[in-house]
């Protein structure tokens, strides 16, 4: 049917016809109006409205384009709207998750939540001070172990590594990135159970498990940054007679400290939300425990998980605590993401 209306003979470029630039927007308004009208009759809901609008929009635009601009342009417009649509579709879960966590988590975001543990708490009230402390302690230990190993490994790969060992390590770091978090937890469990007996549950076990997840992230980001340091800087330093190790420390690492700090902060943000490895290594407790070498510790993710999976009565209060713990966790992750940006600005070498 479109044969009649496509651009005449197709010989001269000037003859081809276009939809006006405002056409997609006009069609969108039309489609929205049409869907609203249809749904007003059938009973309105937001999801149905958006889906119907998107479908109507696509059909009308493609048919119009095919009639005026020809099949090739119509396909182009079809793909464009698909691609834009898929991006918008991905925003739906993001917005929904953010909204749910904030609205449901806000219910218990009070002083009590940060100052009380769950020790002796029955029913409503109680807090996650013990879980917050556990998360911070375990994450701090993880960072203390992972960062030196990660940065030195990256230094090795960029500055020293040659031959098959370097290739093997590059490859193994990639493999390590792909280890499922629960397997990392089982590894720490298997290791400590061998030494301390089958009922060993310690904060440090959780740290070891998280290290397996954090080290490759630190290595990757540091390596990337170190490779960006211009070779001239190193050569200038060597030319001045500076030993290699001082060149690495004072020139290479100094130049890239902003990037490294950013990478480390993002790596912390990644491991701080891990639940599964802590579930099998650290266990769970209702009371505050500041000692990672003695007994079970609570952490925010596991606190959230057990409040949901094994709720105490009344269930509503327990679920509220689960959401608030989730909200605090998300706030922590976002804080570290923001911190990464601040850090990268604060640490970058001053250029005058």
């Amino acid at each position: 049917m479109s044969q009649l209306t496509t651009s005449g003979s197709g010989l001269g470029l000037g003859h081809s016809r276009h939809l006006p630039t405002w056409a997609p927007y006009g069609v969108l308004v039309l489609a929205a109006a049409f869907s609203a009208a249809v749904l007003a009759l059938a009973g309105f809901n937001l999801a149905g409205f958006l889906v119907l609008t998107a479908i109507t929009f696509m059909i009308v635009l493609v048919v119009a384009s095919r009639a005026v601009e020809g099949p090739r342009k119509a396909t182009d417009r079809f793909v464009t709207s698909l691609v834009v649509g898929s991006f918008l579709l991905a925003l739906v879960p993001l917005i929904s998750v953010a909204w749910t966590v904030i609205s449901r988590g806000a219910a218990r975001l009070d002083v009590e939540f940060f100052t009380f543990s769950m020790r002796g708490i029955v029913g409503e009230g109680g807090g996650a001070a013990h879980a917050l402390a556990g998360t911070l302690i375990i994450t701090a230990i993880t960072t203390l172990i992972s960062v030196p190993i990660g940065i030195l490994t990256a230094v090795y790969l960029v500055e020293y590594g040659r031959g098959s060992l370097a290739r093997a390590i590059t490859f193994l770091v990639d493999v390590m990135t792909g280890i499922p978090s629960i397997v990392a937890g089982l590894f720490a469990l298997a290791l400590f159970v061998l030494i301390l007996g089958p009922s060993a549950r310690l904060g440090i076990m959780g740290s070891v498990a998280l290290c397996v997840l954090m080290i490759p992230v630190v290595v990757r980001s540091t390596e990337e940054i170190l490779r960006l340091v211009p070779h001239e800087l190193r050569e200038a330093s060597y030319a001045l007679g500076v030993p290699k190790w001082r060149t690495v420390v004072k020139v290479v690492l100094r130049t890239s400290v902003a990037g490294i700090a950013t990478g480390v902060t993002l790596a912390i943000a990644r491991v701080i939300g891990e639940t599964a490895p802590l579930l099998v290594t650290v266990g769970f407790t209702a009371a505050i425990n500041y000692n990672p070498f003695d007994g079970r510790m609570a952490t925010l993710p596991t606190f959230s998980w057990f409040s949901y999976a094994a709720p105490s009565l009344p269930v509503e209060a327990s679920i509220d605590r689960a959401w608030t713990a989730a909200l605090v966790l998300v706030i922590l992750v976002m804080a570290f993401n923001l911190l990464a940006r601040v850090v990268s600005r604060a640490f970058s070498p001053k250029t005058r």
């Binding site: 342009k73 991905a90 060992l165 499922p180 629960i182 089982l186 939300g273 949901y308």
Partner: protein, 312 residues
């Protein structure tokens, strides 16, 4: 090795650089850290095998009446099915989002839009789990009911529909979780497409889609495959979201919208672990070992593909 690390000039005869103690110590330290990676990975494999061994060799009566492989098969099925669903939904979406960011969105917006998608990766999995069970699962029940009523003859949609905590829901939640992984890598590949080829295609009168079809996608194809496999690896190992959302019961089934679903390996470990003792723990570690081997193979394949493309 420190002596040869500065690039030697051709004409100058190789001079012996004085070895300073600081150099030796620093080189030793960084090499030790690198070797540490080897040790850790070897440790992961060794300790898992060590602790899994009792369950692998145990008689069926000792580990709950069935042999190890009979117990692990439904879990394996659930793991693969959920990850495959996630990939089936997540990969096309992820690739088209990557295309949107690199080739459709205004230049200035590309970076912030990419950052928004990366935010999806920043959300902890436990949060996805809570969201999936309290918000998403109830929201999709009407769709499942419709599918069941109209396509119930099709085995995938046999039903009966109850709470929405089904395999399909898990697949959708996992799809959201692997989306940022697939998008991030695809974006990198699409951005590296030779600009000249793209401009040549446009100059020949190609529409934007034709340019992408003939210049961008063939170039990025293997990168997209690798990205999808990395996403698959992530989906296979995801624990908490599945443990929270999936309603478990029954064995192997392709029925995607009922409440009787096979568990996944990772979710099964998280759910069973708190109540397990003795050989039960060994059994869970053995299933973890199976998961480790599978994700290792998938990641290995993905990295091999990436390595081949970046070389060629």
């Amino acid at each position: 090795m420190t002596a040869t690390s500065t690039p030697p000039r051709e004409a100058v005869p190789q001079q012996r650089v004085r070895q300073r103690p600081g150099d030796r110590i620093f080189a030793g330290l960084s090499t030790a850290a690198a070797v540490m990676i080897l040790v850790i990975l070897a440790g992961v494999a060794v300790f898992l095998v060590w602790q899994a061994a009792p369950a692998l060799v145990a008689a069926p009566e000792q580990i709950g009446g069935e042999s190890f492989w009979a117990q692990v098969t439904p879990l394996l099925f659930g793991t693969v099915l959920s990850a495959a669903l996630a990939l089936l939904i997540g990969a096309p979406l992820g690739v088209s989002i990557a295309l949107f960011i690199t080739h459709f969105a205004p230049r200035k917006l590309a970076a912030p839009l990419g950052y928004i998608i990366d935010l999806l990766a920043a959300i902890p999995s436990i949060v996805y789990g809570l969201w999936g069970v309290f918000v998403f699962a109830p929201a999709v029940v009407p769709i499942y009911t419709w599918l069941n009523e109209n396509l119930g003859w099709f085995p995938l949609f046999a039903g009966p529909v109850a709470s929405g905590r089904t395999m399909l829901t898990v697949g959708l939640v996992l799809a959201v979780m692997v989306l940022p992984v697939i998008t991030a890598l695809s974006r990198e590949v699409f951005r590296q497409t030779p600009t000249l080829q793209q401009e040549a295609a446009l100059a020949l009168g190609a529409t934007r889609w034709e340019m992408i079809k003939y210049a961008v996608i063939p170039y990025g194809k293997s990168g997209v495959v690798a990205a999808s496999m990395l996403g698959l690896g992530r989906a296979l190992g995801e624990t908490m979201a599945v443990a929270a959302v999936l309603s478990i019961g029954g064995g192997i089934t392709f029925n995607l919208i009922s409440n009787q679903n096979p568990a996944t390996i990772a979710a099964n470990i998280a759910l069973q672990f708190p109540e397990s003792t003795g050989i039960g723990v060994n059994l869970l570690i053995a299933t973890g070992l199976v998961l480790f081997v599978i994700t290792f193979l998938v990641n290995f394949a993905a990295r091999a593909i990436v390595a081949r493309t970046t070389k060629g």
